[in-house]
Structure formats: C-alpha cells, structure tokens
Symmetry: none
Subunit: 305 residues, 5 copies
C-alpha cells in the first residue's frame, strides 16, 4: 500500500481494522488508487430530483447497469447510490468496484423549507450488497437536523462495528440559513466540522463561495484575516475545518455545467487541497465516452495537485 494511503489510514486509528480496510478499499481502487485522492460516482438524483430531470438528457442512465459500467469504465474509486440502484447491479458487478449504499434519501415531490431525508436502507443491506461504506445526508440548518444527526450517530455506530466506512453528505439547507448561505464559506466549513464531529470518515460538501452567512463568523474571518478570495483559499479553509485535514473531504460537482466551468472549479478544489470530487450529473448526463474523458481529466487534476 502506498505511503500516502497508510498516512491517511493513520488518522482513523480509533477505528477497527475492518473499517480501515474498507477505507483502504475506497482509496486503493481505480485510476486514483493509492494516490490518496478520490473520485466517486454518485447517482441518487433519480430519487432526489426525479427520473426525467436526471436521466432524460442521456437516457442510458435510466438503466441502473449503466452507472456501474460508467464508474468501472472510468476507474472511479467507488459508486454510491440508493438501495434500488445498488440491488439492480450488485450481483452482476460483484467485486468490480467499491460500493457506497446511500442510507437516506429525499424526493422533491413534497417541498417544505426544512428538509429531512427518509431512511431507505440499512447497515445489513450494505453488508449483503458487499458495500465498503454507508452514505448519509445531513442538512445542517434544517429544523430537523437533530433527527438526522441522531440517525447517523446510530447508523454510524452500527456501520463501524461491522467494519464499514461512513461517508456523510453535509449539505446546509433549511430555514436556519439563506439560499446563498447554503454554499457560504463559513457555512460549508461549519458543515464539514459537524460531519467530522459526528464521526464521518469521508465528508462531502459543496464548493464554497466567498459569501459569509453568519455575522458572528464574519467578524472572525475579518479579524483573523482568513483568506477566502479564491476557491483554493476556501477549499483550504474547509479542509482545515475538517480536523486540520485529517478527515477526507471531497467536493460535489454540483448542477450540470459546461466543461470549462467544471474543470476550473476542480482545479480550485485540487489546488486548495481537496481530497477529490464526487461527480454525478456532470458525468452520467454526458455520453459514456465523453463522461469517461471528463472523469479522467478530473482525476488527473487531483492526482497532480
């Protein structure tokens, strides 16, 4: 195993060997295997946004096998999805790529200002499907945040006992913060900290903007001169906020966007010391060959950072 992966595993020394081994499976697989960087394919948009919004642009994506094939073909570190999508391919692609079972999901047929996902999978499901990790979304800023924190606490404890890793999607959202606040640098950094404090091994956040949401925070950013001008600055701050970089923090690709915008963003993340990217719509909504090329380009940026 590479020195870097060994170093990363050393940050999780309270975890059992099974969980370390699962983290190693994530870190050692695919084109970035051994580099300490990660690019993950997540496909929960069918549940979260509905099938047409997710798959109509590249209709092969309606077929659950296509996402396994894309993740494997591109050499991603892992493929993350809800129960149904994993059940639809886990046997056929057994052993081909580390899997992350998203244990909670939220649809958008019911709105509401304070979101809370439903639990849609179990640790036992993750084991029988051969997953390396569970995934879980929290919405800091929602009035229902505590319910989610308590759910991941319980599921995380169970997962760690079974030798799985814990990946937390930490997405500030809800009546506690403004729309701009969802990606404000202070909020994203805070979200990373919360996920880390909840015991996450891998933390997924959105790329932060230079907006600062909370007055109490702004004072400190100003008085201490925390640099937040460039994306690299902000990513560096977010990574620092996740235990001085001793937790794996990866960044979402966000809504589908043009190639150049995305690549520029990835460069900022890589330059700021982000551990990698988790790229859904920007990959699976493109034709497979194009998607693989893009994922390879992203991987190369991370590897060479």
């Amino acid at each position: 195993m590479s020195k870097r992966v060994k170093e990363i595993l050393s940050w999780y020394s309270s975890d059992c060997p099974g969980t370390l081994s699962s983290l190693a499976r994530l870190l050692n697989h695919g084109r970035l295997g051994g580099s300490g960087k990660m690019v993950i394919l997540p496909v929960d948009q069918g549940f979260e946004h509905g099938p047409a919004r997710s798959f109509a642009k590249n209709p092969v994506g309606y077929d659950p096998r296509s996402h396994f094939e894309l993740a494997i073909g591109a050499g991603c570190n892992a493929y993350a999805a809800p129960l149904g999508f994993l059940e639809a391919g886990a046997a056929e692609f057994a052993g081909d790529i580390p899997l992350i079972l998203k244990l909670n999901n939220s649809d958008s047929l019911y709105g509401g200002s304070d979101p809370c996902s439903a639990i849609t999978g179990s640790v036992d499901d993750a084991l029988r499907l051969g997953c390396a990790a569970i995934g879980f979304t929290i919405y800091p800023g929602s009035s229902q945040r505590n319910e989610m924190y308590e759910q991941i606490r319980e599921l995380g404890e169970e997962a760690k006992r079974a030798g799985l890793a814990v990946v937390v999607w930490s997405y500030p959202r809800g009546s506690g913060i403004s729309k701009d606040g969802e990606t404000a640098v202070d909020v994203v950094a805070y979200a990373a900290q919360i996920a880390a404090q909840l015991g996450a091994h891998v933390i997924k956040v959105k790329p932060p903007t230079d907006h600062i949401e909370q007055d109490a925070a702004r004072k400190v950013y100003e008085s201490e001169g925390i640099p937040v001008a460039t994306l690299a600055d902000r990513v560096r701050h977010v990574v620092q906020s996740a235990f001085a970089g001793r937790r794996i923090v990866i960044f979402s690709g966000g809504p589908a966007q043009g190639h150049d915008g995305l690549i520029s963003e990835i460069r900022g993340i890589a330059e700021g010391g982000g551990f990698g990217s988790i790229v859904g719509r920007n990959s699976f909504q493109r034709p497979k060959g194009e998607a693989i090329d893009l994922l390879h380009e992203i991987m190369d940026i991370h590897r060479n950072a």
Copy 2:
C-alpha cells in the same frame, strides 16, 4: 419456465432464490402465466372507501370468497387484499392462486390533506397465509411520505429475507402536489422511480395524464422532447423511469368506468410496454361472468402487445 420469465427474473439477481421463486409464482400463474405480463385482482376498497361504495353495486362482493373465486375463475396472476379478506379465504382456497397481503391500508373516515396508511399486517402474517408477496402503499407528496418510506424499507428487508416479493402501490398524493398532479406524467414517472429505488420488485402506478406538475420537470420534458402526447407514450416513459424497464410496472384500472373507456386505456398501457394491469372496481363491481369476460379481454390485450 418461459424464456421471458427467466429474463425478468435475471433483473433481480441480488435477491435470494426464495424471492425469485415467489416472483416466478406470480409470473407463471393463470391465463397470462409465462408471458411476462400480469393481471392482478386487488380488493382493498372495502377498507379504503367503505363497504357500500365498494360492494353495493354487485353485492356478492361483500363476501370475501367471491373475490378469490373471481381471481381464480378469471385466471389472474394473483389476488391482493388486506388481512381480513385474506384470512377469510386463504385456507379454503389454499394453493389455488398466489396471494399478496396488503400490509398497510387507509380508511376514508378521517380525511386530512397528507395521507398515511396504517400498518395492518405483518411479514409473519404473509408467511402463515401462504402469500407470494407483500403489498405496501406509499404516498409521495404527503408530508408523511418519509414515515411510509421507512416502513416499507423495514418490511421489505424482512420480506426479502423470508423469500417473499415486494409489491409497492406508489400513489402520489398530499399537500406537496395538486389534485391534477397526482396523475401527471412527471409525477407518476417519479413515483415509479421512488418505488424502484426503495427496492420494490413490482410497482403499481396510475395511468398518467399529459399534465406536467413540476416546473423543473417541464423544462426537461420540453428541452429533451420526451413524448407524452398519447397514453402509450406516457406509459413508455413511466416504464423507462423504473430502471429502463427492468422492474415490473403495472397500472391500475382506476375508478369504475365504462367498458370502452377502460379497454381503450388498457390498449394504451399495453402499447406503451406496461407489464399489466391491476383491476379492482372495474372487475368486481360487475357480475362475475361479465367481470371474467372483461378480465380476459384485458389479458388478451396485454398478451398480444
């Protein structure tokens, strides 16, 4: 076993042989046995709408045995009902037809804009009654949707471990969507996707209209040119939305209607690649002979599609 049934079973390769065998029992029984198509008789209206509204038109329907007899006589693939109705005939008709125990039901004496069914049966009940599957209703769009998603997650996991199949009635309803939205094509497709992601083997939805409920979805339907003009178009889209047709999607007959309207609807469903129909009031509210003729007509349309 027919090649088509073998093909369908191959979509569920993460399931245990017991569940595959239960799916095979559903697919191989009755007049459509082996065709890969299904016509199921569901009778939960006594619970859902009350006895007079359900059975007064054809009073033999008050007698639970009549529905077993209709389903058997017509050669349906299965008969689905709540606990009481199944208990009232499961011994007498043991082995005559695959049974589906509806595990949750909702009455209409208490209204409310955000429905949630009560759990009225268990996996153990399904086993002792000799069922091939459990049935469960979710109401995407209700503020209580998450509670239902979490219930089916737990019941589904238990059912799959015991070798049963899981049939989900996915009926959008509640304060999150409009009345027209309940059968809007985007919403029905989304409902099918949610059921599939929750791990359903068989998904029941309503025939979709050409209404589009969500603005975010409408943009995609327009930009991608998803055809939704005819019922066949819309059914095709809904089936595609359930894992590119790799989950069994069947369509309800809806409220009682005239013969020609119903048959025309069935033709659209069949033409669009629907896997079959689940026809309650339109069958059991007719005299038995007439109901059987109608069910046979429906079966023939599905078989010849």
Copy 3:
C-alpha cells in the same frame, strides 16, 4: 356441537384450532349456547365514564364480583372488562364464564376531539386470567386511528398465535366525522368493515341511525337503493358489510334507557340478523333480579329471531 356453531366456526378456517376452540367457548356458553347468538356483559364504564356515573345508581356495581355474578346468573355468553375488574374475580369465578380482557381503555378526565385509548392489558394477561378472547377498541374517524389499527394488528397477531379470539369494539369518533355521523348507517357499516379487515373475529358496533354521513356514500345508497329506513334494514346492511355476514357482529345497548325503548331496539337488531347484544349500563345499573329478567328477555328475542 350445534350445526349452527359449526357453520360459524367454518368462517374462520385460517385460524388455529385454539382460536376456534375459544370462539366455541364463547358461542356455546350460557342460555344462548349453541344458538349462534350471543349476549355479552361488558363493564368498562368505570374506566371510561368514572365510578359514580357508572355504579352509583346500583351501588353493588362498585364490587367487581357483582358483574361476574350478574353475567353468570343471567347466563351470558361472556363477561368483558378491563384488567382490574377481571383480576378481582377471575380466580374466584374461574371456569364459570368465558372472559374477555379489554386490552385498551380510555378515561374521560382528559378530553380532546381525537380519542385514542391506552393499552391497559396484554395477551399474556389474558392467558393468565383464563380469557377466551381479547377485546380492543378502535376509533375510526380519529386522527389517531392508525395508531390504534397498528396496535390491534400486533395484539391480534399475538392473540391468534396463542389461541385466543379477537373482539373489536369499532366506534367511529373524532374530528373526521360529525356527532351524528358516529352512528350514521354508512359510518357504522364502514366501521364494521374496518374491524373485519383488521382481522376481528367478533365485531361490536352501535345500532345505526338512518343518517348518512359521507356524500360519496350517500350517492351509492341512493343509486343502489340500499334500504335504511328501519333499524332492521340498517342492521342487515351492517352485518352484510362484515364479510356478507361471515363475521360475528353484535350491537351495543348504548346509553341507559327505558325498558321498552331498549327492547324495541333489540327486536330491530334481531330482525336484521344481528348476532346478539352487548349490554352494559342497561343491565348492571338495574337491580340484579331485574337485570337478569331483562337479559333473559333480550336473549329470548335473539334466540327466536
């Protein structure tokens, strides 16, 4: 055993012999034994309405033994009461009369528009007290109905496994319906159907009035010409609504009333095919001799119907 009792038991063929035997104990005991009719003495009013309202009129009723003695003396089929009342006599009168343990009860010190009873006894209690059945109250129309349905589902499954019968008091009440609606013929018929679908062996409802509560139902009563003019008509409809008469439906005596009014009501119930009566306040609030005479009169009406 009488042919009629055998016929009634045949309706419950999915149940284990223990439950059939418990039903037989109820059907074969007392003055109506073997007739297929039942008169049961229920005394839960102390809990439901308070002691003075229940027992001051005939103070011997404060003493739990008095109700055992009344039920035995009158030759009732069974005596039904909450935990405390049964514990206070079950040993002394062991073997003298079939007992039904009411597993939930509600007091009237706390009001609220949407009632839900508390679980106050267990299946294990019923077994150790030698009961033939458990009793359980549901309030269709209450916002808390689902909680009650789920409780009886679980308790019913446990009771059936232990060879007990299940008696459900189905009393529509709550914010979903009007005061008049509580005894409306459509609502009472619906309440009987719900109890039957929940797996009840014996269903207790109130005598229905000719009020029709739900608009959707009224259309059907009118279009199908369902007769609801006389009490006998309405009882016939309610019994039909409980699986075409294949579930035992008995009717409460309601609030204390004069002899003639009560007897006239019983005649209507008997004429309409009701399986019997469950008479509380109208019996135990009378002096014992008078109460026995009244119960005998009621029994004779049912026997001769």
Copy 4:
C-alpha cells in the same frame, strides 16, 4: 384444484393456510400434479454414502444442476436435498420445481451402532431458498432417537409457523432393533405412526418386509390376523398406521436395483395404497433418458392405482 387434493388438504385442518398452500404446491406440481400421488427425487446420498458410491456410476450426478434437471425433466413433484446441493441450483432453477431442504444429514465416515444426523440447515435457509417443505430424518430404535424427536419438534413448529410443510424420513435403525428389524412390517408401521405423532405432513418409510421384529407386536398381528403376506398388504397396514391413511405416506426405492425388481415393488406399493415413491439412486444413477423413462413408468403405476 382437484377434488382429491382438496380432500387431502382437509386432513391438515389445524395447519395454517401457508402450510396448506405449500402442501398444495407439492401435490399439484409435475406429471402427477392433482392426482394425490407423489414422486419425489431425493439426493442426499453424496452426504450419506459419499460421492463415489453415489455418483460414479453416472458421473453427471456429481454436478448439482443435473438433479434439478432430472427432477424437472421427469416432472417429479419435488426435489429434496441438503443445503449445499440446493444452494448450487436454487437461483438458476427458481420457480421450476418445489424444493425440500433436508435439515439433517449423516455421513458414513463415522460408524457407531446408534445413529443421529447432524442439523445442517435451518428453516430460514428453507425460506431464503424458496422451499415448500423441510425434510428431516429420524432413527427410531437408536439410543439417540429422543434428541432427533426433539429437534424435529422444534424445527417443525418453526416451519409450520412460516407456512412450510414438514416431511419426515422415518428410518428405524440403531441398537434397539435388529438389521432385519429395520424393515420389519411392525417396525415400519410403528415408524410411520411415530412420524405422524411428531406432526409430520408427509412421511417417508422403506417398503416393509414380512418380518415381524417385536414379540409383543407379533402376538397382535397373529391374534388379529393382520394380513402381511404381500407387499400390498403390508403397505396397506403401514398407511393405515399413519392415521388411517390421513397422512401422506411415501416409500423409498431403496438401494439401486434392477428395473423389474423395482417396478414390481412399486406395483405393490401402489396396490397397497401408498401415496407415492421417493426414488433416489434408482433414478439418478441411470442415464438421464433412462431415468426419466423409469420415473414416468413409476408415476404411471401410482396414477393408475
């Protein structure tokens, strides 16, 4: 369903509908489906006698799929085997034939005069593999018989609650009886009675000889003039000993033998009212075509009896 199968199911009226349905699956499948007769393919000899003794004669039998194919190809009512053999084909052949999981097995590497099989499968295994029944061997006559009786009691109770049928191999053996006694008519009849009393739905015994093992029994056979001269006589007596023929009793084919001897034996079994045969080595040790011809010949004898 045929009248005869309905009649047979009526003998098991204390069982839940699930178990009746599983019995119906056994009785309704294959070439004898509906006749009330059964021919089952059992393959536990690999475990019981070792692979070479079992499969060398027709080496395709080393492959677990071959036995599924033989049972399906011949139209047997069911295929019975230990865990490993069922796991090796249950998914591939899901839904093709009812399965019976042998829950205990004994190898012959350790001898000893008082045999006891090891428990090698569970009711949960039977459910996940989609079986219709569990199978269990008891050795009346062994000093360890009580251990086996207690095991099947517990497993049988669990199986019946889960809606499975219970098949008992009742093979007298051990220090309590002589070698000749193992097939003595009094002992085989006694073994059938023990299995029936232990709650078996289907009982497998060996064809009885005219030897009488127990002195106390011999006196009765002589004084009452029980006919035991022909195999048909003895089979009739054994069937009568299993609750006057109200339990399904089937007979093993015994060690591999020539065609004529076997067929003559089957004729005696059929003439005596045996419910069918369970033919292992005599079928799978023959080439497939020949085995199917033989099984068809056996089925025809049973059907026409």
Copy 5:
C-alpha cells in the same frame, strides 16, 4: 474482472452480492489474482501444535507481523489465522491482503481419539477485523463430527447474511477411520463432498493417497474404474466430488517437507485441476526470501496448469 473469475462466481448464484464480492476479493488479490487459482497462507499451527514446534525453526514466525508480511510479500490471495494472530496485525496491515478468520481451533495439549475444535472467533470478529471470509475446521470421522457440522451450519448462515465467504478445512480424523484413512482418496473425496453439502464456498483438503479406506467405496472405485494411480488422478476425483468442480477446492501442503517433494506434489495438484494450495509450515518455517521464492514457484505452477 477476468472471465474465469466471473465464471467461478456464477457457481454461487444463491449467495448475496456481498458474499460474491468477498469471493471476488479472494480471487482477485495477489499474484494469482484473476487466474481463478489461489495460494493462501494459513498460520494456525501455533494454536494447533504449539509455538516451538511451529516457530522455533524460523523464529521470526513468533511475531504475528511476520506472517502478514510473508503473505503480502509473496502476493498470496489471502492470509488465514486465529483471532489473536489477526488482531495482532489487522490494523497495521489493513487493506493489504484479504483475511480469513479461523473461527475454530484445537490445541494438542489434550489428546483423545475424537477431536473437536473450540470456537475461538465470531462472525462479528471477522467483520470488525475486515475479513473476506471465515474459516472453520470439521473432522469427519470423529464421534464429535455432528457438533462441528452444526456449528458451521450456524456460523455459515450468519456469515453469508453478512456478505462473507465460508472456507472449510475438511480433515477426516477420529475413531471412525484409520490413520491411513485420513488421506485415503475415498475419504478425502467424501470430506470434500461433506464440506460442499454444508455450504462451503472454498474447501481445503489434504492431498489424497491411493489408499482406499472403506470397503463399500472400494467396490465402486473398482467396478467403475475410477483412476486413482497418480496424484493428479486423485485430485481430479476430489475436485469432481465437490460438485463437479463447481466449488473451489484447494489443497494443503501438509507437514514440512523438502523443496522437491513439495513441488512435485503441487504439480500433481495443479495437473489434476486443483484450484490452488494453502501452504503453512512449508512456507513460514523457511527464511522469508526462500519462502517467497517457493510460494512464487507454487503460484507459477498453478497459474500455468
């Protein structure tokens, strides 16, 4: 994944994707990864034979880390050991090599002719240590065989549900067979069959000699002309005895022996179609460099077979 590994996984289609994935981890790791062949390092001799007998010859072996290092350095498919040895390195070497936790072990301080190992680890231990499989030893031929069969039945069911693979060491031993019988070809083939019927995914046996232990078996070997003259012949027969080669059968290296003898034995195993070797004392009792050379030589023979 290689076509061969896919083919091997297809033999285990009743298993959940997690177990398939664990089997894939074993088959895809190390120098033989993807070839369908396996060389495993097992070190349970410290427990089984005592430390001096096991480690004095090459004292680095007293240190548990040395065995991890040897297995990793040589590119073995997996490392198998009891609880203590795995706990002593699982964290340090997490992710470096698939682990197999030996769940039972037997010391040699207590003799006795009928061995039975103690259960010394759990499925939960295997999960927390990050293992891909559990290992378990059975001693067919021992009077205590049934106890071991029942233990692995239960542990195997639990392991399979948790997505682990099951490796069974099947070592005939005990008063039922002679010393020579322990490696007799008929007995080893039988031992492989028993392990397969008990549900093992991977079976470890000893290289068989041409001795035939059981008279009943000898007749068949002679009459059917089963070739047993060469080791390759015998290995071919043993592999066939494990479900016609549809279970992975690997062979132990046996007691420490000279290089040439061992290599010659490996050639016979490879030629006969063995799936690989499990080499303990012959590797770890040699200096590391020499051991790695030897293991590579063994791997090359298997790969090129």
